[in-house]
């Protein structure tokens, strides 16, 4: 699984990455993490508020930092 954290290095991006790593670990999944900081790339995903969470090229979260549990639910729903 490929996970991208979209955002230009703001505090919320770090929080989002921490939460996403936590969620992936709790689900027992293998994932590669990637940071996307280029504005054109970020906007390309249709995101207008950072941070954004992209799992296997699908945008799951934009504009806020969810809880680890919410990320777990989102990833499960996306995989299911």
């Amino acid at each position: 699984m490929n996970i991208k954290i979209l955002g230009s290095g703001c505090a919320n991006c770090h929080n989002l990455e921490r939460v996403a790593r936590e969620a992936v670990a709790e689900l027992g999944l293998e994932a590669t993490f990637e940071k996307v900081t280029d504005y054109a790339d970020i906007a390309g995903y249709g995101i207008m508020r950072t941070p954004g969470l992209v799992v296997d090229e699908a945008v799951l979260v934009s504009g806020r930092v969810p809880t680890a549990n919410q990320v777990k639910e989102l990833i499960t729903a996306h995989l299911g």
């Binding site: 504005y39 906007a43 995101i47 207008m48 950072t50 945008v59 934009s62 504009g63």
Partner: protein
């Protein structure tokens, strides 16, 4: 359901705990706000026996009272606005603006700039997202000008310090500036001064609405988080602002500012805006100073122009926008906005005398 309603059973219901907790918090904020001035007067005058009408004691009294009052106002209004705004998203705003012509589009963009949750740190992705999806440049600019100019912190503080009238004047003027500046930029056809990659950005992937599936508990939590994060970001500005305000309040001679920047000086608004533009602060840092200067007899138009210039135009935001706009367009953006603010300042001074 159907169980015996003991008090503890009622308290364990999530709805009761959520709304009950919120109601208690609201009562606490209102109660503290009401008791604030009384408390500090009692503490300094009656307990410490200070003369709070003059000098240091007056400054201390003003500083304590103002800090608590402004903090309470910010907590209440930021929370309320964040919860209400959690029903609105930038994505929805863009969908509403897509396909709108200039004119109607500018009016809508300015209005949406006020109600859409947005921070200037997202100005660049939002700009690309708007322009790449076909929202006209001038309409996008109306949004980007209105958003910082008419924000919840400014509204909270204006309401608390000056009341409903000046707040509505400020909001109205801010909207007009955003609409007119966007229209002007649109008319000038400055698309060539936007970095070309913006128009080449391909928007792929489905656009998600970031607030789908939020519960009331999520929205309340977002409100609490936002209050904490805004207060954490602005408290240094706030304390410096209130400190300067208190110093002006306690020490500046009664007619010092009025002599140099009063309504007799035709250049006062111009100077206020020129000083305000490079100043990087936010509404929280500027308003306590504005409040103290108003008490010293400066006209409202000059003060609102100073505040708008400080809040609407900032160097860090322009440096961010440099990623998508060429310097010439940034100069036009700043120039048109500053000109609008100057006009509003003179207009208010003329009307309100």
């Amino acid at each position: 359901m159907g169980a015996v309603l003991t008090p503890s059973a009622v308290l364990q219901r999530p709805g009761v705990r959520r709304w009950g907790g919120l109601a208690l918090a609201a009562v606490a904020v209102v109660g503290l706000y009401a008791a604030n001035e009384f408390f500090w007067t009692w503490l300094y005058r009656d307990v410490f026996g200070l003369d709070i009408a003059t000098g240091w004691a007056s400054m201390l009294h003003f500083f304590s009272y103002d800090t608590v009052k402004i903090a309470l106002l910010l907590i209440g209004i930021i929370f309320l606005v964040t919860v209400l705004r959690s029903f609105m998203t930038v994505e929805r705003t863009r969908a509403l603006l897509g396909g709108k012509r200039e004119g109607v589009g500018n009016v809508m963009a300015a209005g949406l700039g006020v109600v859409t949750p947005f921070c200037s740190c997202s100005a660049v992705p939002a700009f690309i997202g708007f322009v790449a999806s076909g929202v006209p440049l001038g309409v996008t600019m109306s949004f980007l000008i209105a958003s910082p100019l008419v924000n919840e912190v400014a509204i909270a503080l204006l309401l608390g310090l000056f009341g409903v009238g000046p707040t509505m004047m400020y909001v109205g003027a801010g909207l007009v500036i955003a609409i007119v500046a966007g229209l002007v930029i649109g008319r000038l056809k400055l698309e060539r001064w936007v970095e070309p990659f913006v128009f080449e950005t391909k928007l792929r992937g489905q656009v998600i609405t970031s607030t789908v599936g939020l519960t009331w508990d999520d929205r309340i939590q977002m409100g609490i988080d936002e209050v904490i994060s805004i207060l954490r970001g602005i408290w240094p500005y706030l304390l410096v602002g209130i400190g300067l305000g208190a110093a002006i309040h306690g020490w500046a001679p009664e007619d010092f500012f009025a002599t140099y920047a009063g309504s007799d000086n035709p250049f006062a608004v111009l100077i206020a805006v020129l000083v305000g533009v490079p100043l990087y602060s936010n509404a929280a840092g500027v308003l306590p100073i504005v409040d103290a200067l108003y008490a010293k007899g400066l006209p409202m138009g000059t003060l609102l122009a100073f505040m708008m210039a400080t809040v609407a135009l900032s160097l860090p935001e322009m440096i961010l926008l440099r990623r998508v706009l060429k310097p010439k367009l940034i100069a036009v953006f700043a120039g048109v906005t500053a000109a609008g603010i100057i006009c509003v300042g003179y207009l208010f001074n003329a009307i309100l005398v």
